[in-house]
């Protein structure tokens, strides 16, 4: 689909020879499609960048988007689509900025006339299609990485590991636990044990509506891993339905401590560590 | 490529001694870091490589380990091939069972490392020896 050296020579002549007019027309067409959501000055700057990149690449000979000589052109296209993706433009609105060049070229080729006119226009058109597809691809990639980033941020927000007491940390789990999230939570819990030097962890699943075998396995593996590291886990807040699921699935919780509520779990840990609960001590006024 | 490891080009390490097993671990670690495996996945694949390289040495009488980067378009991964020309594995089903050993180990080498990787293939015969291929993909 690449342009050969002769074709790109003629393309450069057309675009370079009418630089001012090309950028002007191109900007106008794009501006029409975006209905004022980008300033005219900014659009013009983007179009000038693209124009410069295409002419720059063409001056080096044949234009092949995958060749090394087209590095600048690829960078300009990626830059444009990244910007548009971040600003919330749709895929159509983004690629149209490239396809607009076809209209401009059609006018120019028609004016220039000559025996090669049709042949050239078809070749140029193909090149523009290729540029458009490239832009579309990098638009999608940017959007995908935005989504991945957001998912990750959400995961971090939804899985706090908090210190409850000296030597006791807790993870209050809220919402549906899928396998991926369970894994992230558990890794963070184990890392927190190391960072804080806490030998006790409470996993509170009061806010978890259901568990499947995989999630239960993840929790179990975490408890065993914590034990290997020298820490004890207590599971609290198991709902009746979850208790039934656990038994029905035949998951063996073995000798893992389970408590009805987070408060019970904390009391249990404090008793193990020998901290007296306040109730037992006569209160002294300050 | 910016990574220190030449992606795509397989890297070989012969396994003739204890120290070679350590070298296999280090090689696998470098490649696993280059394809951006998570820390836990790096640890899993290096541990599996350590088990399998030791098997190559102890049961296969030595052999070679080849580490390659693989890419299925969506994800990258590490592929490791352990090959020896030893006597082969007589009873494969038994060898893949937890706790079964003919060599005085814990019997977790094969069965355990299979759980640590995403893909696990094994070809074995008395004539050609044993060839194990494992792959771990990035998440």
């Amino acid at each position: 689909m690449a342009l050969n050296a002769e074709e790109s020579g003629r393309l450069v002549a057309l675009l370079g020879g009418h630089a001012e007019r090309v950028t002007q027309r191109w900007t106008d067409i794009v501006a029409g499609s975006l209905r004022g959501r980008l300033s005219h000055a900014e659009l013009r700057r983007q179009v000038e960048d693209l124009h410069r990149a295409i002419v720059g690449t063409g001056e080096q000979g044949a234009i092949d988007l995958s060749a090394e000589s087209a590095g600048e052109l690829r960078a300009a296209l990626s830059e444009l689509s990244r910007g548009r993706a971040r600003q919330g433009f749709s895929a159509t609105e983004t690629t149209i900025s490239i396809f607009a060049l076809k209209d401009v070229l059609a006018e120019l080729v028609q004016e220039a006339g000559g025996a090669n006119a049709l042949h050239d226009y078809v070749a140029f058109s193909k090149l523009v299609d290729e540029l458009g597809l490239f832009t579309f691809e990098s638009f999608v990639r940017t959007r995908e990485s935005l989504i991945a980033d957001q998912a990750e941020q959400l995961l971090e927000l939804s899985t706090p590991v908090v210190k409850l007491w000296e030597g006791v940390v807790a993870v209050p789990l809220v919402g549906t636990l899928d396998s991926a999230r369970a894994q992230v939570v558990m890794e963070r819990l184990l890392q927190t044990l190391v960072d804080t030097g806490s030998p006790y962890a409470i996993i509170d699943i009061t806010g978890v509506p259901a568990v499947d075998t995989q999630v239960a396995q993840h929790i179990l593996k975490t408890v065993v891993a914590a034990r290997l590291m020298g820490a004890d886990c207590i599971i609290s807040g198991i709902r009746p339905q979850i208790a039934q699921t656990i038994v029905a699935l035949g998951i063996e919780f073995g000798d893992i401590a389970t408590k009805a509520s987070l408060a019970d779990a904390l009391r249990h840990v404090l008793r193990l560590t020998g901290v007296e609960t306040a109730r037992r001590q006569p209160r002294r006024d300050a | 490529m910016t990574a220190g490891v030449d992606l795509g080009q397989p890297q070989a390490q012969s396994v003739r001694s204890d120290e070679d097993v350590v070298r296999v671990r280090q090689l696998v670690r470098t490649v696993a870091v280059a394809v951006k495996l998570s820390l836990v996945d790096q640890t899993k694949v290096v541990t599996a490589a350590s088990e399998l390289a030791r098997n190559t040495l102890v049961y296969g009488g030595g052999g070679t380990v080849e580490v390659t980067t693989v890419d299925n378009g969506r994800r990258k991964g590490v592929r490791i091939v352990f090959a020896d020309s030893g006597p082969g594995i007589a009873d494969l089903d038994m060898a893949l069972t937890d706790g079964y050993t003919t060599g005085g180990g814990l019997g977790l080498g094969l069965s355990g490392s299979r759980r640590l990787v995403d893909e696990f293939e094994i070809e074995t015969s008395a004539e050609t020896g044993t060839r194990i291929t494992v792959t771990k993909w990035s998440r």
């Binding site: 890794e187 065993v224 891993a225 020298g230 | 204890d18 640890t43 814990l106």
Partner: protein, 136 residues
């Protein structure tokens, strides 16, 4: 072949594994440690594996063996500093490190050994106190 150094701190032997051990080095450590326990009369061994980025079945077995040997020689072994990724991998591998005591860090390990010794001394109150003090 490299050797893992063994430090004596009070009544405790501290082994901090800093290198990617070959199997031979691991076996050597097992032997060295048994000798040092007898030679020093220490009652506690702390093996710090903070620096180990993997523990495979061979090293796992070495840790178990060291724990058993030192038990026979009247010393308590605690493995400290296992990294989360290593622990997760061991669980997947199916290695449970039965019979090994673990702690998060050296400090906790020392507390564990002190507590274990205190329990034992309680039992030994009726024994002849001179019997315990014969160390070179």
């Amino acid at each position: 072949m490299e050797r893992v150094p063994i430090l004596k701190i009070g009544d405790i032997l501290l082994v901090s594994i800093q290198l990617d051990m070959s199997d031979q080095t691991a076996v050597q450590l097992q032997d060295d440690l048994a000798e040092r326990i007898v030679a020093t009369g220490c009652h506690g061994v702390i093996i710090d594996i903070t620096a180990l980025d993997i523990v495979d079945s061979f090293v796992g077995r070495m840790l178990s063996t060291i724990a058993s040997i030192s038990k026979v020689l009247d010393a308590e072994t605690v493995v400290v500093g296992m990294r989360p990724a290593v622990a997760i991998t061991l669980v997947e591998l199916g290695l449970s490190l039965n019979g090994i005591r673990t702690a998060l860090n050296v400090e906790r390990g020392m507390e564990l050994i002190a507590a274990a010794r205190a329990d034992e001394l309680d039992y030994q109150l009726d024994d002849d106190p001179d019997a315990e003090t014969a160390t070179p």
